[in-house]
């Protein structure tokens, strides 16, 4: 208790000193930005999410929810549900079933508050291949026929593969992205500096960058959010699929699983022998994308009628 108040005291002192200095040096700056509160000091001194104490997390959530209320005029709940013990998430996708309809893509965008057009962000990219071997160089993802499936093609939806040896986590210079206990790779958007090393490192194009301020009509915002997942993001941060962290940690299926009209998408606990994904791994011939890179993904593909 004492320690915390000490920290607060020193922080307050620091803030005061800075504010005093600001009168002289930073006045032109704040004038340029046109607002006295150009800098949110609490946000400025915020630590990495993993280093926060429960009390600090509580204050952070109150601040974030107030900020979102002001920005979007709606009550947006920001959860910090921790990982469930003895759970490692995995995903399996039946390529014999996928018809390339992109229902998953848009339900994901809706659920996870992804930026809409024109600065559109999608976590899922559905690749179309001509029948034959999977040759990524010949894949298309802007296909737009009248009806799917088309004869002579098959479809491979690709999103974050939640690798055990995730190259994106390895290259992040500031540890703004990490693997949670339940196997999901997450990003602390407040800590991300937007260097995009992770995007360069990811062989699956599983990460997306907010080149512009995300654009979502306030009425379309999903108010059920998680700090490490679908809370509204800002310009200049990287974001990615989190297996719908706000849903999966409450026992629910991710949005893409529920959106798939053909039941090609399967999700569950790898450590539970009776889970759907585990049964698929046990009884079907599964493979993963770019296995030669040794990224060890938790995202499995299989062909089975």
């Amino acid at each position: 208790m004492k320690e915390e108040s000490d920290i607060n005291l020193t922080r307050r002192l620091l803030v005061k000193t800075l504010m005093a200095g600001a009168a002289a040096t930073m006045l032109p700056l704040s004038q340029a930005y046109g607002a006295a509160s150009a800098i949110d000091w609490a946000a400025f001194f915020q630590k990495r999410f993993q280093e926060l104490t429960p009390q600090e997390i509580g204050r952070l959530i109150i601040r974030l929810e107030a900020k979102y209320k002001k920005t979007y005029g709606r009550d947006i709940k920001v959860k910090t549900t921790p990982p469930i013990d003895n759970v490692e998430f995995a995903y399996a996708l039946n390529l014999s079933k996928c018809i390339g309809c992109r229902r998953c893509v848009y339900s994901c965008a809706q659920e996870n508050n992804l930026s809409r057009k024109p600065h559109q962000i999608h976590y899922i990219r559905v690749l179309r291949f001509q029948s034959g071997p999977i040759d990524f160089e010949k894949a298309q993802h802007y296909y737009d026929p009248r009806e799917v499936p088309e004869t002579g093609y098959f479809y491979v939806p690709v999103q974050c593969q939640h690798c055990r040896k995730a190259p994106c986590v390895k290259v992040c210079p500031i540890k703004a992205t990490w693997t949670e206990k339940d196997g999901t790779v997450v990003v602390d958007y407040d800590w991300c500096i937007g260097c995009r090393y992770c995007m360069a490192a990811c062989p699956y194009k599983g990460r997306n960058f907010n080149w512009a301020e995300p654009q979502i009509p306030p009425e379309e915002i999903n108010p059920n959010t998680h700090y490490l997942g679908n809370r509204p993001r800002m310009k200049n941060v990287v974001e990615k699929c989190t297996f719908c962290v706000h849903r999966s940690r409450e026992g629910r299926y991710p949005a893409c699983v529920e959106a798939c009209p053909v039941g090609a998408r399967k999700f569950g606990n790898l450590l539970d022998i009776n889970s759907e994904v585990r049964q698929i791994i046990e009884t079907k011939r599964v493979f993963r994308l770019k296995e030669d890179l040794n990224t060890d993904p938790r995202f499995f593909y299989f062909f089975h009628s």
């Binding site: 992109r102 229902r103 559109q120 026992g251 299926y253 009209p261 399967k266 759907e276 049964q279 089975h304």
Partner: protein, 158 residues
Amino acid sequence: MLFLLAGNSYAAKEFSVPYPPFSPGIFPCMACHEGLDRNRNKRQLADMHQEIKIIRHGERWCYDCHDARNMDRLRLAGGKQIRFEESYHLCGQCHGNILKDWKKGIHGKRTGNWQGEKQYLLCVHCHDPHNPPFKPIRPEPAPVKPEKTLLNRQPTSK
């Protein structure tokens, strides 16, 4: 209502499934079939149900699956009556491997919770039993190409 009362006399459901995808107003079948004679002869239907054609599902005939004694029920090959909510038993008579996968959650769509209660879809929710292959659908629009975003748009003036 009749259907609900009838349903209560059966044991607890094995799988939680939504209401079967009947054509509107067609169920209960016995509302019409109650006073009708049972004609078990294979024939081209002329008075009712002409729109039902068995396509891409082999040589089938109504009473292969529907129960002639009680049209509100289906009938397994061994003569056992089953409710429409349990129609997966009927499909599984030929498609046993798929039924096995369906029970494990490998085949077919599930919604709800990966941990806890989940809802299954019946075979017939995706596969019309009279014409089983999955029907093509219109895809959602293609993603925006990067060159079409505002950021990459060339300045129009100057």
